[in-house]
Amino acid sequence: MRQQKSRGFWYGVYALVLLALVAGIWGMSARVHYDWNWKDVPRYLVSTSGQELLAPFDAYVSITPDGKTLSLKEYGGERSASYTDFAQAYAESGDLVFRDDLLAYQAGLKPGILLVGLWMTLKLSAVSLVFALLLGLVAGLGRVADNPAAKQLSSNYVELIRGTPLLVQIFIVYFFIGTVLQLSAFTAGVVALAVFTGAYIAEIIRSGIESVPKGQMEAARSLGMNYTQTMRYVILPQALKKTLPSLAGQFINLIKDSSLVSVMALTDLTKAGREIISSNFRPFEVWFTIALMYLLLTGTLSYLVRRLEKRLAHD
C-alpha cells in the first residue's frame, strides 16, 4: 500500500519533469522570438500538387474551350493523343512542346518530400543491412578461423573501420572510390554503410561464436561433421540466436548512421529536411518532425525484434 503510494508520487515527478522540459523549449523559442508554424509541415509529408503529366513526343497542343480536354498532334509525324484526367493545364493552346515537357498537373495526392526521404532512408538501410550481414558473417568467421590470412585480414578490416569516423569513410567512398568506379550516389551510400556496419557485425558474430561452449564443436566433430557443417548446423544457429539483440541494435544504429549519407547527392530523410529548411526557414518544426520520424522507424523495429526474441525464446 505504502509502496503504491510512493510509486504514484514518482509518476507525478516524471510528468512534472516532462512538462518542465516542454515549457523550457517553448520558453527558449519565445526568447529568440521564434513563431511556431506547424501548419506548413503536413504538406511536406503529403503533397497536394499532384503528379506531372509529360508530353510523350514532340507535338502541338490544343485545349478545348471548356479546358477539360488536352489534345496533342505530333510535330512532323502522324501520332496524336488526348487527355482528360488532369486538374490544371500548364501548356497553352497552340504551344509547341517537346518530349517530356510539362503539359499539366494531374489531380491527386503524392508523397511529400519527407515521405520520399523516409522511403530512401528505409531502402538505403535495408539494402545496406543485407550486405553488412554478409560482410559481417564472412569477417566474423574469419576472426575465429585457424587460417592466418583469413584471421589477419578480417582483424585488419575491423580495426580499420572501427578506428575511423563514418563521415570520413563516406567521403572516401563517395569522392574517391565512387569517382574511380563511377558509382551512383545510392551505390556509394550502400557501400559506405555496409562496410561500416559489417565491421561491427563481424565483432558481434565473433563474440557470439566464442560464447558457444567448446564442447559443441567437439561433439559435432566427433560425429564426423567437418568444420563447415559444424559451423552451419551447430555453432552459428546458437551464436546468432544469442546475438540477436546486439544485431538488432546494430540495425537501429545503421538507420541512424544513414543520415550521414545526406552529405552525398542523395535525398534521404535528413537531406530532405535540409532542402525544406533552405526554402522555408523553419528549422525547429522540420527537425522535430524528422526526429520523430526516425524515432518511429527505430521504435517499430525494436518492438518487432522484441517480439521475435520472445518467439525464439519459446522454442
Partner: protein, 247 residues
C-alpha cells in the same frame, strides 16, 4: 585378419604446446568386442589418450591404428574415421537448439547423407533403445542429466560406429541418475560393442569390463582382468588410489 586388434596404439606421446607431457609412450590394444575400463587419478592423461584415438587431439609421438587406419598419418580422412568411432562426453554436449530426435538425426543426414525418413525412423528406434521414446521432441534443456547423457549415447550410436569411447560419462550426474546411464552402457557391452570407458564406477568396471587399466603420470601403469585387478592390486600406488575411489 579378423582377430587383429580394433585399436592398436604404440608408444603414443603427447606434449601440449605449453610443455605438459600428458602421454609418455602408451601402448594399448583393444580387440573387437572388448570392453576396456580406464581408471586413474585426475591429470593422468586418460582423456588425452581417449581423444588421441579419434584424432580429437594430435599426438607428438607414436602411432594409433583404428580399424586398420593409421589415425595420425598424413592424408587420413579424419571425418570419415570419426564416423566409425563414437564419443560420449562428461558434459553430454547435446545441441541445445535441437530436439532430442534432431540431435540424433543430424550427423546421419548431413554426414552419411541418409534420407531424412530413414534417419528419423532409425533415430526413433535408438531413442527407444535408451528408454527415451517419449522424449523425442523435447529440447535438451528440459531433460535431466541422465536423460541427456542417454540421448548423447543414442546420437553417437546413430553413426553405427564400430567403437564407442566414453570419457567419464557419469561424473557430471547426480548419483540417482548414474544407474540409468550405466544400464544403457551395460546393454551395449552385452551386444558386443567395442568400448573404451574412462570411469570411476568401479562396480561397472568389475561387472562389465574385460580388462581394467590403471593410468598414472601419462603411462599405463598396470592392467588386468577385473577380478585380479581389484582383488589383488599390484602396487601400493594402485591400492592407495582404489582405497580413495572406493571410499
Amino acid at each position: 585378419m579378423t582377430d587383429a586388434p580394433l585399436i592398436h596404439a604404440t608408444g603414443v606421446e603427447k606434449c601440449y604446446p605449453n610443455g605438459t607431457q600428458a602421454l609418455k609412450g602408451v601402448d594399448l590394444k583393444v580387440a573387437r568386442g572388448e570392453v576396456v575400463c580406464i581408471i586413474g587419478p585426475s591429470g593422468s592423461g586418460k582423456s588425452t589418450l581417449l581423444r588421441a584415438l579419434n584424432a580429437m587431439e594430435t599426438i607428438t609421438g607414436g602411432e594409433v591404428v583404428v580399424d586398420g587406419i593409421s589415425v595420425h598419418a598424413r592424408g587420413t580422412d579424419l571425418n570419415k574415421l570419426r564416423t566409425h568411432v563414437g564419443m560420449v562426453f562428461q558434459q553430454f554436449n547435446l545441441f541445445p537448439h535441437m530436439t532430442a530426435l534432431e540431435n540424433v538425426m543430424l550427423a546421419p543426414t548431413r554426414v552419411l547423407k541418409r534420407p531424412p525418413e530413414e534417419a528419423r525412423s532409425r533415430a526413433e528406434k535408438l531413442l527407444a533403445k535408451v528408454g527415451l521414446a517419449d522424449k523425442a521432441n523435447v529440447h535438451p534443456g528440459q531433460l535431466s542429466g541422465g536423460q541427456q547423457q542417454r540421448v548423447a549415447i543414442a546420437r553417437a550410436l546413430a553413426m553405427q560406429p564400430s567403437i564407442m569411447l566414453f570419457d567419464e560419462p557419469t561424473s557430471a550426474l547426480d548419483p540417482e541418475m548414474v544407474g540409468e546411464v550405466l544400464e544403457v552402457m551395460k546393454n551395449l557391452a552385452r551386444e558386443g560393442m567395442t568400448m573404451c570407458v574412462v570411469t570411476h564406477e568401479m562396480g561397472f568396471a568389475r561387472a562389465v569390463a574385460n580388462r581394467v587399466i590403471f593410468m598414472d603420470a601419462g603411462l599405463i601403469q598396470y592392467q588386468n582382468a577385473p577380478q585380479a585387478f581389484f582383488d589383488a592390486p599390484e602396487s601400493e600406488r594402485l591400492k592407495l588410489f582404489l582405497g580413495q575411489v572406493l571410499k
